[in-house]
Symmetry: C2
């Protein structure tokens, strides 16, 4: 990966932000900047160097993963202590506002509160625009996620419990080489499909029910995320019509995507259509979110987000309509924002699947 280029980009940001170094503690940011996957580390970046502080458990792994991007220091007496001792040499010490209060206290003690500068989302802002290596990783993750969906669907029967389907999806992810699920898999049937954040439960999915499946994997450090809604039987008029509304909304949102278009505009494309069809009150969440090293990252594709989408952003498009007591439909793809429009990465078809 282009770690050197990413560190260089960060250095421009540091100059603009008027800090002499940045202490990076968020695991996803350290991975992005250096490739290090360990659970304990602090990265100090200044105008010419990057130093990764970690502990003895990673004495072999850290140089292997991050040695090309950063100098690795294995700390015996505490990672924080060593990194803060080094940070003392700078006049203005930036740290991530996402850090813990304890870290802030230790830094205030170690460096002096007056030299500390809290900075919000500097690395996250860089992560917003993906390079082609990252897009290739996300595509691999998306393709794996679609494949395991397609392998799992034939095993869905009315008597199978939601949590068995979730287990099956996650099992296939792991066997296919994913590190882990990107989030808790959602499998929600019938009236429970009307709850956008339902967990998979012990109930059988039942006959003639809307069934929402929302799952993602982490593969080689990158996330995927997809939702499909299927019907366990022959769909009646109401379910079919609900499905068509959401599908059309989703396609309109995708059609609205291209570099320079505001996030709010993409959200509006889905939301206005759902409203027009009379379901405005039943679409309580935003249209999508960025994904990459984390399954939820910048940008938010939501009504109040005026930020123009940059080329190279990778986002989900996932409108949903949830009718209490009846059921819900959500359809979600991952797309890359390109100059000319959206490049849809998710290959899984979107016609309504009627099972059994």
């Amino acid at each position: 990966m282009n770690h050197a280029a990413r560190l260089e980009a960060l250095r421009h940001v540091l100059a603009r932000e008027r800090v002499d170094c940045l202490l990076v503690g968020a695991r996803a940011n350290i991975f992005y900047l250096t490739g290090f996957t360990g659970s304990a580390g602090l990265l100090l970046v200044d105008e010419s160097r990057a130093v990764l502080f970690t502990d003895g458990r990673y004495a072999v792994q850290a140089p292997e993963e991050a040695g090309a991007a950063a100098r690795v220091v294995i700390c015996k007496g505490g990672i924080e202590k060593a990194a803060l001792a080094r940070a003392k040499g700078y006049r203005r010490v930036g740290f991530e506002a996402s850090a813990g209060y304890r870290f802030y206290q230790a830094a205030a003690d170690g460096v002096g509160a007056r030299r500390l500068r809290a900075r919000d989302g500097l690395v996250e802002q860089l992560r917003l625009v993906k390079d082609e290596q990252e897009i290739a990783r996300i595509r691999d993750s998306v393709l794996l996620n679609s494949r395991i969906f397609e392998e799992t669907v034939p095993s869905i029967r009315p008597e199978v419990a939601e949590q068995e389907i979730a287990a099956e999806l996650e099992y296939r992810m792991r066997r296919a080489g994913a590190e882990r699920p990107a989030f808790e898999t959602i499998v929600a049937a019938g009236p429970r499909s009307a709850m956008p954040h339902a967990r998979a439960g012990p109930r059988p999915v039942g006959k003639n029910a809307l069934l929402v499946l929302d799952h993602g994997a982490i593969l080689a450090g990158y996330a995927s995320d997809m939702t499909r809604t299927v019907f366990t039987g022959k769909a009646g008029e109401r379910a079919r019509s609900l499905y068509e509304v959401v599908l059309e909304a989703q396609q309109r949102a995708i059609a609205s995507v291209r570099a320079g278009v505001r996030c709010s505009r993409v959200d509006y494309a889905a939301r206005a259509y759902i409203r027009e069809r009379g379901y405005g009150a039943y679409f309580p969440h935003s249209t999508g979110h960025g994904l990459g090293v984390e399954v939820h990252e910048a940008p938010r594709v939501a009504a109040r987000q005026k930020m123009p989408l940059p080329a190279g952003a990778v986002i989900t498009i996932e409108p949903g309509v949830y009718v209490p007591g009846f059921g819900g439909v959500r359809i979600e793809d991952v797309v890359v924002v390109r100059e000319q429009g959206a490049q849809v990465l998710t290959p899984t078809p979107k016609r309504l699947l009627e099972l059994g």
Copy 2:
């Protein structure tokens, strides 16, 4: 669960700590005190009340789960804002030192930095001693975890990849009703078994290899954690002898457990024996850790931890020996600290299993 009793115990702590209320943000602590499982919440506890602030997604779930223990407030304009507005009514506002720097900043703005009191691990300290309801939950989780181990072992063949075995273990957990794995399942064969924190990889486990399996589940909110080391073939003298050393060390540590004994003493029981047998340099981690709502919680069973174990603490006992280039052995059970000694919850036998 005894939420009312736990809140009452916390109130005694608050009086001792000289704060008029405590803002609890750590998810595991909110669950412990109220039963709420949602991902967004802040709990304010004062001398007579407990108020849970959460958002619209949990309008149904929060009163169901936490309504008996706390008054639930559904916040439209931000959870933090609402909770901090309420906290303004107190002179000394405690907050968890484990909170984020951003929360601290918001609290300093909302309440005034001079009225804020950072407090370390108040709820965590209560969680150290489990009540019998909690021990029953942990036992259920441990039994599930042992059962799925015993179901999975027969499917281990030399040509099966580490990650396939990990996937199988996690799949069976989920099917058996677990919410999720308690941590990333470790399956490490041959020389890789000599890395205490190896992940499961795409390599087949191979013939005549030591194979470490370390896994746990979260069931009904409570963790389990076990490790067994098996041999894929007929074990030679060296592997067998390594195994016997670790098993004896583990049994000595278990035999040393009872209420009032220092954590360091339990660690020493394992460590001294391993040292005596010449493997002192190959046991680089501590002997165990507490578990409950989280898979790693207080106490640490380590050389420098002088704290006496209280009755009702639940800990793992998991010494290991890791010989670079050859392989490693770790054996781990969950035990309850009782007045008279250790009550071992893990039922899985500990003789060396030779597969195939």
